[in-house]
């Protein structure tokens, strides 16, 4: 496709006006007739067993309607976070819920409940749990486990593993849970000019979505209605239905707006079923509002790492070998596999000739963690990029140049295990670096490195990051109505990127429709939505352009068939444009889209959705059947060729002024460039690039979770204490760009966008700080002012190289 009508052009997404007028309704803004309220009783202890709940007096209080405990909600598979629990594994984990006619009455009742707790051992250090006989976070015998591919289990390292190293300073590298390698690592290290062998820590940080995950639910006519805060729509249905013990078709899910998720609301999550179960018990709609403090308990956070990274470069700065061991602090329950992504991203972004990766995800008594923007890949960017700079300095290679000497190109291999590595569909990270270099004026600006202005020193940094950028095989569904309007049904969700609309415009593009005549159907499972994956993993731009493309192509084929039937000739004799299907040789021989839609209804069968492709998902089948007879239905599964793994990259350039007296720094300038394939929606892309950059600044230098090691209490459960970046942490103006080179595996050249933008800016800021400090590398995130001041003053850091969570 070329000469796009919509792609690459700005438009006003239909939901933005509602956002600026306050008309947009988020989960907590809904009301239902007879609605009552529930509140949670959460654990005051980091690990305990609930021996007895005495709620007799509380339940007799005026206005109190009922209580739910863990016994009222079906359990989750071993290791997975429950909605309510009798063995809380962190401070703030919900134990029970009380419903009442008012929140006040519910809270008053909770204050009257007496719980007999048996305190149990707790830990915030994975190395403690890996020590033979060391404390475990859980009492079910599991100290390791992760989402997809690693069942809960137990691994203890040997005393000898620990004896070999200096406690807190070096990582004992006992038996990993998983490992892979390719190439001859030892042989490659012998070829290296410089080798670095470092201990590192990346702290956990909260997602802090601005909308706490409040939820409202009720049951009506055998269906459960749920108003929830979710990034995704269709993808949530099977999991949420399973949690509720119903079929997906018995669930109505309203998630039209979501006040931020960043990975924490990608799919169904435990707390969201509490109002539904309470509602079932009481026969009344139930609203559960979640406070900001509770959001820190329920809203999840990034996995933290302790690790060892050994990397070796040749004299030209080519990375020859890498050997990585990642110990993931996974929080209390099964979490995402950041530790795997750390290794895979290294193998792709720097293309070492040989590499070994080992990893182990260990439970500890911190709130549940899950994927957060660039889970694993962005921790890698924070740790690896400053080491690349260190090599560049030592080898006297330009810092942009050394990156390009290692970067992948189209078709480069990704993945870990020898023999299982596959190609990426495209990689334009070198082009992103070049574009940023020019825009930032790197070659001139780097000369300012270390320039002093009173106590302030200039630092110049560059950073890069990667994330997979697309999935395959989901369904598209469009319906051309007799009034000539094209209804595009999208089940992707509304994370706030406007890509639900951006990707829907591909259907308009294929059908050469004016955007004014397109209607997007989304946000409510009653709107006949197709089966789509969730809005996470930087996939939407890739995955959903494919689905909307195939659905629209199906509609085009049907338009041509109808024209051939009615006007004579073969379907191939016809073309489309101007909302008409017309004979190529005689454009006056034509049928308007509206008339074609009417004919589709008359013809029935496949034309109006009465006959459907066999390979589409049952959810899409159901939605298409509901549309049958209302217009010309275009519906198809994405069976387009799969040629590799789509990959998104980003590069970021930052100049700072570091105050050597206070350790504070100010970002003077920031330029960020995305390699996201063809740009679909320039304005939407620009704001994603900047937003990612802002989050990276928080990850690099501001945000972390801290726990009290003695009592296991969280030290920061407020925005003020957690310090997500504000207006004042940013430069006055930010600059963005995109490579804008098409990915060959996508019909419009698009691929994913969001996640690497955060890692790139985090890395660029860390590298700028390092640059201002003469090349010192901290091997830790976040880098805080006290660390900077200590280093500059030649004082010992209070944190040991591997200390985690408690400082």
């Amino acid at each position: 496709m070329a000469n796009f009508k919509h792609i690459g052009k700005d438009f006003i997404p239909h939901d933005v006006v509602a956002k600026v007028t306050g008309a947009a309704k988020y989960a907590e803004d809904f009301r239902a007739e007879g609605m009552v309220f529930c509140r949670l009783l959460t654990s005051p202890m980091p690990h305990a067993r609930v021996k007895n709940i005495d709620a007799a007096a509380a339940l007799k209080m005026e206005g109190v309607l009922g209580m739910l405990t863990a016994n009222d909600i079906p359990g989750e598979p071993p290791g997975f976070a429950p909605s309510l629990t009798n063995e809380p594994l962190y401070v703030g984990e919900p134990i029970l819920a009380v419903a009442a006619v008012s929140e006040q009455a519910a809270q008053d009742a909770i204050d009257r409940i007496k719980i007999d707790y048996e305190p149990l051992p707790f830990t915030f250090d994975p190395l403690e749990s890996l020590f033979p006989g060391g404390k475990d976070a859980r009492s079910d015998g599991f100290n390791i486990g992760t989402l997809q591919g690693l069942e809960p289990g137990s691994i203890k390292w040997s005393a000898a593993d620990f004896a070999r190293v200096k406690a807190g300073e070096e990582l004992p590298m006992g038996k990993p849970a998983e490992e892979w390698n390719f190439g001859d690592v030892d042989a490659q290290f012998r070829q290296c000019k410089v080798v670095y062998d470092e201990r590192f820590v990346t702290a956990s940080l909260a997602h802090h979505s601005m909308e706490p995950r409040s939820c409202m639910a009720y049951w009506q006519n055998g269906k459960c209605f749920v108003h929830a805060s979710l990034q995704s729509q269709s993808f949530v249905m099977p999991g949420l239905a399973r949690r509720l013990g119903i079929k997906p078709e018995e669930l109505v899910l309203i998630a039209e707006y979501c006040g931020g998720g960043f990975g924490s609301k990608g799919s169904d999550y435990p707390s969201m079923v509490i109002p539904a179960y309470m509602s079932k018990k009481l026969g009344k709609p139930v609203m559960m509002r979640i406070s900001r403090a509770e959001e820190y308990y329920l809203g999840s956070a990034r996995n933290a790492f302790q690790g060892n990274i050994k990397v070796g470069f040749d004299a030209q700065g080519k990375l020859l070998a890498a050997d990585v061991y990642v110990v993931q602090d996974s929080g209390a329950h099964i979490s995402f596999w950041d530790y795997r992504a750390f290794g895979e991203a290294l193998a792709l972004v720097y293309q070492p000739k040989a590499m070994r990766w080992r990893g182990i995800p260990v439970f500890c008594n911190a709130p549940t963690r899950t994927a957060q923007r660039g889970p694993g890949q962005n921790q890698l960017a924070c740790i690896m990029e400053p080491l690349v700079d260190r090599a560049a300095r030592e080898l006297n290679v330009d810092r942009v140049e050394i990156r390009k000497r290692n970067n992948p190109v189209n078709g480069s291999l990704m993945g870990g295990q020898e023999g299982k590595r596959g190609p990426v569909t495209s990689a334009y990270i070198k082009e992103a670096l070049d574009k940023g270099r020019a825009r930032f004026n790197w070659d001139e600006r780097r000369k300012r490195s270390g320039r002093k202005n009173g106590p302030r020193v200039t630092g110049i940094g560059v950073g890069q990051a990667f994330h997979p950028a697309g999935f395959f095989g989901f369904d598209g569904l469009v319906c051309l109505k007799p009034d000539g309007k094209l209804h595009i049904h999208t089940g992707v969700g509304n994370l706030g990127t406007f890509s639900h609309s951006g990707t829907s415009r591909i259907a308009a593009e294929v059908l050469k429709m004016d955007w004014e005549n397109c209607v997007i159907e989304r946000g409510d499972s009653r709107r006949n939505l197709p089966w789509n994956i969730g809005q996470f993993g930087s996939n939407t731009s890739y995955t959903m352009t494919r689905t909307n493309y195939v659905a629209a192509m199906d509609a085009v084929a049907k338009l041509k068939e109808i024209a051939a039937k009615d006007l004579g000739g073969k379907p191939d004799d016809y073309d489309i444009d101007g909302a008409k299907v017309f004979a190529k040789g005689n454009p006056s021989k034509s049928l308007s889209y509206g008339d074609a839609a009417k004919r589709a209804i008359e013809l029935g069968g496949k034309f109006d959705g009465h006959e459907l492709p066999a390979d589409i998902n049952p959810m899409t089948q159901g939605s298409a059947k509901a549309l049958a007879g209302t217009g010309l239905v275009g519906v198809a599964k994405d069976n387009l060729p799969v040629t590799g793994q789509p990959a998104a990259f980003a590069a970021c350039f930052i100049e700072i002024e570091l105050d050597t007296e206070t350790g504070m720094h100010r970002i003077v300038d920031l330029v960020s460039v995305a390699d996201c394939g063809t740009v679909i929606h320039p304005k939407g892309l620009e704001t994603q690039i900047k937003g990612g950059a802002v989050q990276g600044i928080g990850m690099a230098a501001l945000e972390r979770l801290v726990f009290d090691p003695q009592n296991g209490l969280p030290a920061n459960v407020g925005l003020h204490q957690q310090k997500p970046p504000s207006y004042l942490d940013l430069p006055t103006e930010m600059f963005t760009d995109a490579v804008d080179k098409a990915d060959p595996s996508n019909p419009v050249g698009a691929k994913g966008v969001g996640e690497p933008l955060m890692g790139a800016s985090a890395a660029a800021l860390l590298c700028a700080i390092s640059d201002a400090m003469g090349g010192h590398v901290f091997n830790r995130t976040p880098v805080l002012p006290d660390m900077i001041v200590n280093q500059l003053a030649g004082r010992q850091q209070p944190r040991k190289p591997l200390s985690i969570n408690t400082q």
Partner: protein
């Protein structure tokens, strides 16, 4: 004979009046939410109030009678009694700015403002900005044109802070705007686009 009570003067009982206000407000369970915020909301230690509960509030140019508890925040009154859910609660403790409203031309965190303190003052919320025919306020228009919101949850607060700024300083520099907006957190990190919007709105207002 004793002094007549307020109920006798107005002709119907206070209880009856409150019930009517609630019914006409068409919002559910007016008294059903907590009024001190969700954090630390136990009754313990709460002072008994001796304040008149039924008050008149001037919100978006309309005077509305509403039953307000002594310790009730303006955000709660707006959202749960007057049905104005455009004002968002992000933290309920004055840290995020999502609940920003304008009171007598000054931006306030409505989560940290007692409703009783705004009697006889003019409250403007996000719902009151658009013109009579729905035409957007210059700030709203500029935020649309700059695609300033991402998830949109902090947006009403950002809009209100920007409006308050332009009221007092119609020609802010970008740095002044940044400072004025700095009480409004946005986790999506859309700050630069919001600032573009503020500057665009300022240009339009001054054109």
């Amino acid at each position: 004979m004793s002094e007549p009570t307020a109920d006798q003067i107005t002709g119907y009982s206070r209880r009856e009046f409150i019930k009517r206000v609630i019914a006409s407000g068409a919002t559910v369970s007016a008294a059903a939410y907590l009024y001190g915020g969700l954090t630390g909301c136990s009754r313990k230690g709460r002072a008994a109030g001796g304040v008149e509960r039924l008050i008149s509030l001037n919100v978006n140019g309309q005077v509305r009678r509403v039953d307000v508890l002594p310790n009730e925040s303006l955000a709660m009154t707006l959202r749960y009694k007057l049905g104005l859910t455009g004002t968002k609660l992000g933290c309920d403790r004055g840290e995020c700015g999502a609940c920003t409203v304008i009171i007598d031309d000054v931006a306030y965190n409505s989560c940290s403002t007692l409703t009783h303190t705004v009697r006889a003052r003019k409250v403007l919320t996000i719902e009151g900005l658009a013109g009579p025919n729905g035409e957007l306020h210059p700030v709203q228009k500029a935020f649309v044109e700059e695609l300033a919101p991402q998830c949109g949850f902090c947006t009403p607060g950002q809009v209100m802070s920007a409006c308050a700024l332009l009221k007092h300083n119609p020609r802010p520099t970008r740095d002044q705007a940044r400072l004025a907006m700095s009480g409004n957190l946005c986790r999506c990190g859309a700050y630069d686009n919001y600032l573009n919007g503020v500057m665009r709105a300022a240009a339009e207002v001054n054109a």
